[in-house]
């Protein structure tokens, strides 16, 4: 039996569908903005639809916040900061955050369903990663709220004031938690702008904030598009901008904020190198490569999108990798067996197609999973490019999709040089059984996060963020407080 036939046979292993129920989401047909502790009437605003990317059907409509809506949100946050939150003790703030964490846990199934419907990510991931980590983030920062003077930023660290926070569509609730939890713990009030294509879980979070009794105006949520984000960035009443998204937009924001008193933190793009040495345990490596690039459809800024394999094992790694890629279950995100879900939007799908077309044009060898794709919705089959050169666009540009570029190296020095040959510097992986070599490589990689013999792990205690054009500032851990303290 040939290798290829074996692969097809394994790929054909059937599972019964195991769908989670969409009814659990309890979505309303339309949403207003969350301002000053209450939802505005949807009728007050221009509405736009949030689509389920797996079906292209509208899930709900949400408000497109105008500059005057943003103005109201900032005024509300300022009022809450001056009158309430800055007078609330750290211990009190902590208790609100603990309540929020608990409520996220209690409504976790609903949140997971909403997240998967709105984003297209597999329910397995929203259930096991996004939602538990969001709750954990609130738990972690809750404990900091009354211990700030022990955080290493001086004896009386003060909050910044009103924080404008703009988050991406790849981990909608988790990114909201990453932004809100440290900001609130440090004593700031917030205006949060969710991504245009994934606003729904943040609106459920708004309900949770109400249930937690968080004082009115401490968190305001303005759904909208790029114009809403721009209004927030430019608003003179905002003391701090925290942005997660593309390097392209981050650059524009840094320009616009330059020359103002606003503080800025940026968590931007990446082109993570996943470095495999010949002594690494191959079975684990294959799973690590898969997690590194196909987790969340590759919509991950720290994705291991450049595989660097030592030449001596490159053929074997590629052969086994391709076999594994063929076995990934691509399809209905609500199915509990699904590994790879839907691409988040038509625009993102177009970008992935465009960049992968360059890959072929520039001479890389393309391998595409033979998986069947649903007819409706936005889908892209897991794709691996071999024979990639460092100059190829697929080795330099962030694809932000399920597309892996494979390059090889001979020596550790060459691996480091190739890994660092990028304008980005967010995350890297190193696979080797030799601890001293792993640390030698880790010391030389220009990246904010380095995973040794693992990939795409996140924890509220662990600082996350990039170097170079991947941005500045950290989220998570003691370091994450700095972004929201006047120090």
């Amino acid at each position: 039996m040939t290798e290829h036939a074996l692969t097809s046979e394994l790929g054909a292993l059937a599972y019964d569908a195991a769908p989670e129920s969409a009814q659990i989401a309890h979505l309303q047909p339309s949403y207003g903005l969350f301002l000053d502790g209450a939802f505005t009437s949807p009728a007050q605003h221009e509405q736009f639809a949030s689509l389920n990317p797996a079906t292209e059907e509208s899930l709900a409509t949400v408000a497109l916040a105008s500059p005057s809506d943003v103005d109201r949100a900032v005024a509300s946050a300022r009022r809450a900061y001056t009158k309430v939150w800055s007078k609330t003790t750290g211990a009190q703030r902590a208790k609100y955050l603990y309540r929020i964490a608990r409520l996220i846990q209690e409504r976790s199934r609903e949140l997971a369903v909403v997240e998967t419907l709105d984003n297209g990510k597999p329910i397995r991931e929203s259930r096991d990663v996004d939602i538990p980590l969001a709750a954990a983030h609130f738990f972690y920062y809750a404990g900091w709220a009354d211990k700030l003077e022990h955080a290493g930023f001086g004896v009386n660290p003060r909050p910044v004031g009103v924080a404008g926070q703009i988050i991406p569509w790849n981990f909608p609730l988790l990114m909201a938690a990453w932004k809100l939890a440290p900001a609130l713990a440090a004593g700031n009030t917030c205006v949060l702008k969710p991504a245009e294509t994934t606003p729904l879980s943040a609106l459920i979070l708004a309900e949770i904030l109400q249930q937690a009794g968080l004082p009115d105006g401490v968190v305001n949520i303005v759904t909208g598009d790029g114009t809403t984000g721009a209004a927030l960035v430019d608003h003179p009443g905002v003391d701090k901008i925290a942005f997660t998204g593309s390097t392209e937009v981050g650059r524009l924001i840094q320009e616009r904020v330059a020359g103002t008193p606003k503080r800025l933190t940026l968590e931007l793009g990446g082109k993570g190198a996943n470095i495999v040495f010949e002594d690494a345990p191959i079975d684990e490596v294959i799973e690590g490569i898969i997690d590194g690039i196909f987790f969340n459809q590759g919509h991950v800024c720290c994705a291991g999108s450049r595989l660097l394999v030592q030449e001596s094992v490159a053929d074997e790694v590629l052969r086994r990798l391709l076999r594994r890629v063929d076995q990934l279950r691509v399809g209905d995100p609500m199915d509990k067996n699904t590994d790879v879900g839907a691409i988040n939007s038509a625009a993102q799908l177009e970008r992935i197609r465009e960049l992968t077309a360059f890959g072929e044009e520039e001479g890389a060898t393309r391998y595409t999973s033979a998986c069947e794709l649903p007819e409706k919705g936005y889908w892209f089959a897991p794709t691996v490019f071999a024979d990639v050169a460092q100059s190829h666009r697929i080795a330099r540009d962030e694809v932000f999709g399920p597309v892996l570029s494979v390059l090889t190296f001979r020596t550790p020095e060459e691996a480091v040089a190739k890994a660092n040959n990028s304008k980005y510097g967010l995350a890297c992986g190193v696979w080797s059984e030799k601890g001293s070599r792993t640390l030698w490589v880790a010391q030389r990689l220009r990246a904010g996060v380095i995973w040794a013999n693992t990939y795409n792990k996140f924890d509220p205690t662990s600082p996350f963020g990039g170097v170079r054009e991947s941005g500045f500032g950290r989220e998570g851990g003691r370091h994450g407080l700095e972004a929201y303290l006047n120090v």
Binding site: E255, I450, A452, T454, S462, V467, E469, F472
Partner: protein, 283 residues
């Protein structure tokens, strides 16, 4: 017997551990606070700046590759050299800034003490800004402060030596290499102090000092894609524009605040990156 004619010194750039003139061949006149001519000083060009960045990039790996203990020793050696040439620094600060001798002495003393202070930080900063993170899983996870890389500095215009030391020693002590544009009108104390790095075992290229017209040079520092961080504190009215230009390559930008209670670690923190390593734990 005629009076001895003194030997006038030409002040040149300090780039890559050497003292070149500007490749442009230009120099400009520097006057004391009292208006008297002091010296001709090299007027660096964009090309000199780019050469300095290349030297800094190469030197940074070597500097960061040295042990923290060694970096501390080298910076302390720099302070020793400055102390032994204190009289010269005092004289230059006095004429350049137009202050009384006593005040110049105090200022030079503070500048040297500041180098000592930063020398002591080299092997403390990892513990103070780094740490272990108790992640919920079988991993040993730690965060280390690592240098941003090459830091461009626009040195303060008024404080010719103290301001210079504060703005270069902070990024250097955490392992960065520096390209600094010295005070335009008062460049001499900075050049004299930088000359001493060459006899302090500081690897050539870790500290590069350019003298010249601030407004001509610093936009190129802000737009240079191989410069990772930028201290605009000394750029006056240009600061906003420099900060905007620096956004082109997402530089870390530092700007000294006017308030006196400025946290002295902010400058250090601006030019380090927190690098976090997750290592599996298993049998």
């Amino acid at each position: 017997m005629s009076e001895r004619l003194d030997v006038k010194k030409t002040f040149k750039l300090v780039v890559n551990g050497a003292f070149p003139r500007s490749e442009s061949g230009r120099s400009y006149e520097v006057f004391g606070a009292n208006g008297r001519f002091l010296a001709n000083v090299a007027q660096a060009s964009r090309k000199d700046l780019r050469d300095a960045v290349v030297a800094a990039r190469a030197a940074q790996a070597k500097w960061w590759g040295a042990t923290a203990y060694n970096r501390g020793q080298v910076l302390y050696r720099w302070a020793e050299m400055a102390e032994s040439r204190r009289a010269e620094l005092v004289e230059q600060v006095q004429v350049c800034e137009g202050v009384k001798k006593k005040d110049a002495q105090l200022s030079v003393g503070r500048a040297i003490d500041r180098i000592v202070w930063y020398a002591g930080w080299t092997d403390k900063v990892t513990q103070v800004l780094g740490g272990a993170n108790p992640v919920a899983g079988p991993f040993f996870n730690f965060s280390l402060p690592v240098p941003s890389g090459v830091v461009g500095v626009v040195a303060p215009q008024e404080s010719s030596l103290e301001g210079f030391v504060e703005s270069v020693a902070a990024p250097m002590c955490v392992g960065n290499a520096v390209v600094v544009v010295a005070s335009e009108l008062r460049p001499i104390p900075a050049v004299v102090l930088a000359e001493m790095t060459v006899t302090s075992d500081l690897p050539g290229g870790v500290l590069n000092v350019l003298t010249g017209i601030t407004g001509e040079l610093v936009p190129h520092l802000a737009t240079h894609e191989d410069v990772d961080g930028l201290d605009v504190s000394g750029s006056g009215d240009l600061a906003d524009e420099l900060a905007r230009l620096a956004a082109g390559s997402i530089k870390r930008v530092y700007r000294a605040r006017l308030d006196d209670d400025e946290n002295p670690l902010r400058r250090l923190r601006t030019f380090v990156e927190t690098s976090t390593v997750w290592h599996t734990i298993g049998q």
